[in-house]
């Protein structure tokens, strides 16, 4: 790849150039409101060729699943079906306005109604709201519902949420936003939640627990039923972080395990694309006792056949809106198509192969990198990325993988494993791809011993080498006209 710096749109700008032609006004011009006008909106001036070449050049400096293996743990970077991109762009979906009368958008409502039902079926829940825009947004939503539930029962004194020390950072952050206190619960020697610690923490101040199952070590909680029993026994609710649903869709339903609420990451399990960091979609499923608190509107089938088939309605004790309109509908359409393409057997096959692939990588890598919890894992596993006795750290291994053409695994997470590399291959990667990754990882471990400077100086083949993050945070140049100044 070229190492030449790509100019910004402002550097490419030439006064007087334009990239678009607009029709002349076909109405008489109205006088502009003099006191309200600006002189210049200060956008760049580029030709259309400039714009196309600029973004094409930028795209060539970006790595996506379409380019190669992307085993970013807990992110489920699976193949994004191309037909879904066509489907979401069908004018009948993309051009619909969210405030159109329900009878004019029956197709959209049919999609949403079915998706509510299918997600409820997959998760084992009584009801689903499609409104949250991302996983963390779903967490916040779920926690607000738990708060409303306890409040209604006169138990607003339940202020603590138990959170495993292996949890995603969004869990404690969402807990704080929802007005609760996060209480960290340690993991045990096998990577499960420490059952005694859970037991000791359970009292009448506990609002609930947030569990990720399988957890971020990629392990299915061996005591899940006991944890659920303990938390419910003290009057708490069980929240499931659905980020890792790709291991268990079609294998087990969190609702059947006693979970009260869970968010689904449609951009993970159901392969609506990650988009470079969103838009995602984070619907929330709940057990019957929380159903009335869901954010709305929800889509319902009309009770009388004379009226339009689908209507929208707010649940009785709704916590209110968490978003405008109906959530990220464009993602809902893709998830609908994805589920319909797969059917029940296909979803189960996805989980099975995601788990197969992750276990295969674990056994192929465990003699080169320490696997602290070396047992049958689910869709991902965690190893230590540091190569002992060489000074090579997980970050170095991650950067060196870039030279081999792979996106690195999640690194330094979960926090309970020092030098963690969290590897999630997903089901759409073939055995030859996994074998190539194993060869690269083993080669890097060997390089760490024979030529550690090579690994510690990586990457060497990317358009830029390691970047100075300290300088970025100190000088805080956040737009192209900001001059460096002490931050």
């Amino acid at each position: 790849m070229s190492a030449v710096t790509i100019p910004t749109v402002y550097e490419l700008s030439v006064p007087g150039r334009h990239g678009i032609d607009l029709p002349e006004p076909d109405v008489p011009p109205a006088p502009l409101p003099a006191g309200e006008l600006r002189a210049d909106c200060a956008l760049p001036e580029l030709s259309q060729v400039d714009v196309v070449r600029h973004y094409l050049a930028l795209s060539q400096r970006n790595f996506g699943v379409d380019a190669g293996f992307y085993p970013l743990g807990s992110c489920t970077m699976k193949f994004n079906p191309k037909e879904n991109e066509e489907i979401a762009r069908i004018a009948g979906f993309a051009e619909t306005h969210p405030l159109q009368e329900p009878e004019t958008v029956q197709g959209n409502l049919a999609v949403m109604f079915a998706l509510q039902q299918w997600l409820a079926e997959i998760g084992g829940f009584a009801a689903v709201s499609l409104q949250p825009a991302a996983g963390a947004h779903g967490e916040f939503t779920g926690l607000l519902m738990m708060r409303a539930y306890h409040g209604e029962r006169g138990e607003a004194t339940r202020t603590r949420i138990l959170i495993p020390d292996s949890a995603h950072g969004t869990n404690p952050a969402s807990t704080t936003m929802a007005g609760f206190t996060a209480v960290e619960v340690p993991s045990d020697a096998r990577g499960n939640l420490d059952l005694e610690a859970v037991r000791a923490a359970c009292d009448d101040t506990v609002a609930g627990i947030m569990m990720t199952n399988p957890n971020t070590l990629g392990l299915f909680e061996e005591h899940v039923e006991e944890v659920v029993r303990l938390v419910r026994g003290c009057g708490g609710l069980v929240y499931g972080d659905g980020a890792n649903l790709n291991a268990i869709a079609g294998i087990v339903r969190p609702g059947d395990l006693g979970f009260d609420v869970m968010h689904y990451n449609l951009h993970k399990t159901f392969s609506t694309p990650h988009g470079g960091g969103g838009p995602g979609s984070g619907p929330v499923g709940v057990s019957a006792r929380l159903a009335d608190f869901l954010p709305g509107p929800l889509v319902a089938a009309a009770p009388d056949a004379e009226a339009s088939r689908y209507v929208v309605a707010m649940p009785a004790k709704s916590i209110g809106r968490v978003s405008t309109f109906y959530g990220n509908f464009g993602m809902l359409v893709r998830a609908y198509a994805y589920i319909k393409r797969h059917g029940a057997a296909g979803l189960r096959a996805n989980s099975e192969h995601a788990v197969l692939n992750a276990n295969y990588l674990r056994v192929k890598l465990r003699d080169a990198y320490t696997v602290p919890f070396d047992r049958i894992n689910m869709h991902e596993f965690v190893c230590r990325g540091a190569v002992e006795g060489t000074g090579v750290r997980a970050l170095d291994v991650a950067k060196r993988l870039l030279d081999y053409g792979f996106h690195p695994p999640t690194n330094y997470f979960p926090l309970i494993v020092p030098e963690a590399l969290m590897i999630e291959p997903t089901e759409t990667e073939s055995k030859p791809t996994l074998d190539a990754f194993v060869i690269a990882m083993r080669a890097i471990a060997e390089e760490a011993r024979t030529n550690p400077a090579l690994v510690k100086g990586a990457p060497h083949e990317t358009p830029v080498r390691r970047l100075d993050e300290v300088k970025a945070a100190r000088e805080l140049v956040l737009s192209d006209r900001a001059k460096p100044q002490p931050g």
């Binding site: 990239g19 930028l58 790595f63 996506g64 825009a133 809106r321 788990v355 990457p459 970047l467 956040l478």
Partner: protein
């Protein structure tokens, strides 16, 4: 159908390597009583079948952007083909958050340029790399204001002329805090003079929308000074297209500017995904939520970009983070950047002027019809691309006739959110509405009145 590539032979080889006889054995930790449920889902479809099914579902919706006059927070605007060309690059849309900057320079630079253009457009000093949509961006702005007041102020004065759904989302976000919103009198008629009188030592922020929910420019002169005298922040919800023509909130003293960026090259898509624009003064940068892209250099001194100030974010700060946001709306920010770069200085001004002229033409023509009154609440106030019309008949009835008899999607019925505006609707006119379409609307309305 799945996208699993394995042959039976490969699966066997992999099971052998793992040392288990069957795939089912990988799930021994799952409690047996609930393992392998029979899911009641429809049977799988082929690609051919799903395409046909989705086309048929889409065909059950009424769609005609040129004959739609519905706005109120989601808009039909022209989208140059370049925008979707950029969005469809697999290198962009199949990537994720830029935690490995060396292999994400494309998206990082695009987001840095997005931040740069948003700063100039809004007149602010810093922009984040996106929020989910305009309403959640506003909710985060309100949380920022409460945070800036260090928990000592608990009142958010919010204009009733802010989008009702935005106000609803803010109320939801504040459920778990000590803070509350006030909008003045119950029926939502309070103007800025009345809201100014509500500012006090308890107030963390005044939130206005400009142009407001009804499309009108607010009289903002002196407003920021009054807000700042009370020790509060001025938060402005705006319309990015309007900023091609109208003075930016930074010019009249806003501290935080938020907007829904859907109008910048993103289809309405039944309300999402949209784009949350979020910009502020530099002094608030450490309280900002969401990703920020910063410029830096690599080991050889070349310019490059990274996500910065991550110490604010949930994956580092956990329970003490400024927000829980992780996945945002990056692809929508990319679309907005490509849109703004393509439209450029002259193009955005041109679109804004077309919206202005066409909406004024429509308003003038409708205002001439007997029984219709345009902007009865404030007839002399400038407006941009939306305006209020008092109708001689209930809006639901009018909209039904427009649709059934004339193929027109009418305006937003204001009576539900504003009881004093029963029999009023909000109409939006953009560059996509031709004069012929406007004339058709006017002629249809004249017949409805008759």
């Amino acid at each position: 159908m799945t996208y699993v590539p394995h042959t039976e032979h490969e699966t066997r080889e992999m099971l052998d390597a793992i040392g288990v006889p069957r795939v089912d054995d990988l799930f021994a930790d799952v409690p047996a009583g609930v393992r392998f449920p029979k899911l009641k889902l429809p049977p799988p479809s082929s690609e051919m079948e799903i395409m046909a099914e989705m086309q048929a579902l889409a065909a059950r919706n009424c769609v005609d952007p040129s004959l739609s006059f519905l706005g109120a927070g989601a808009y039909h605007h022209f989208r140059p083909a370049v925008v979707d060309y950029v969005l469809r690059r697999g290198e962009f849309y199949t990537s994720y958050t830029q935690y490995q900057p060396e292999t994400s320079q494309g998206m990082l630079q695009a987001l840095f340029e997005y931040q740069s253009m948003i700063c100039r457009l809004t007149g602010m000093e810093v922009s984040n790399a996106s929020h989910y949509n305009g309403a959640t961006a506003l909710a985060e702005a309100v949380l920022l204001a409460l945070n800036a007041a260090q928990g000592k102020r608990s009142k958010i004065v919010i204009s009733p002329a802010v989008h009702p759904q935005y106000r609803a989302v803010v109320r939801t976000y504040l459920r778990a805090t000590h803070a509350t919103t006030v909008t003045g009198d119950e029926d939502g008629r309070s103007d800025l003079d009345q809201l100014r009188r509500l500012l006090d030592g308890e107030t963390a922020a005044l939130v206005i929308q400009n142009p407001n929910f009804f499309g009108q420019c607010e009289p903002v002169d002196g407003l920021a000074e009054a807000v700042h005298r009370a020790g509060a922040l001025l938060v402005v919800v705006t319309d990015p297209i309007a900023l091609g023509l109208l003075r930016p909130p930074g010019a009249y003293g806003a501290d935080v500017v938020v907007a829904d960026g859907q109008c910048l090259g993103i289809p309405p898509s039944f309300g999402g995904p949209h784009l949350g624009v979020f910009a502020s003064r530099r002094e608030h940068v450490r309280r900002l939520s969401g990703h920020l892209v910063g410029e830096t250099v690599d080991a050889e001194g070349r310019r490059g970009y990274v996500l910065t100030l991550a110490t604010r974010e949930q994956h580092i700060r956990r329970a003490k983070a400024t927000s829980n946001i992780c996945t945002n709306a990056a692809a929508c920010a990319l679309a907005a950047a490509a849109y703004l770069a393509t439209m450029g200085k002259q193009g955005l001004r041109g679109v804004a002027e077309l919206c202005f002229h066409k909406s004024h033409h429509a308003a003038a023509e409708i205002g001439r019809l007997a029984g219709f009154t345009v902007n009865p609440q404030a007839p002399s106030r400038p407006f941009f691309k939306e305006f209020v019309v008092r109708l001689p008949r209930p809006p639901a009835e009018v909209n039904r006739i427009l649709r059934v008899q004339h193929g027109i999607i009418g305006g937003y019925d204001l009576g539900g959110d504003f009881p004093h505006l029963a029999n009023h609707m909000l109409l939006a006119v953009t560059e996509l509405n031709t004069r012929a379409a406007i004339d058709r609307l006017v002629s249809a309305l004249s017949r409805i009145a008759a």
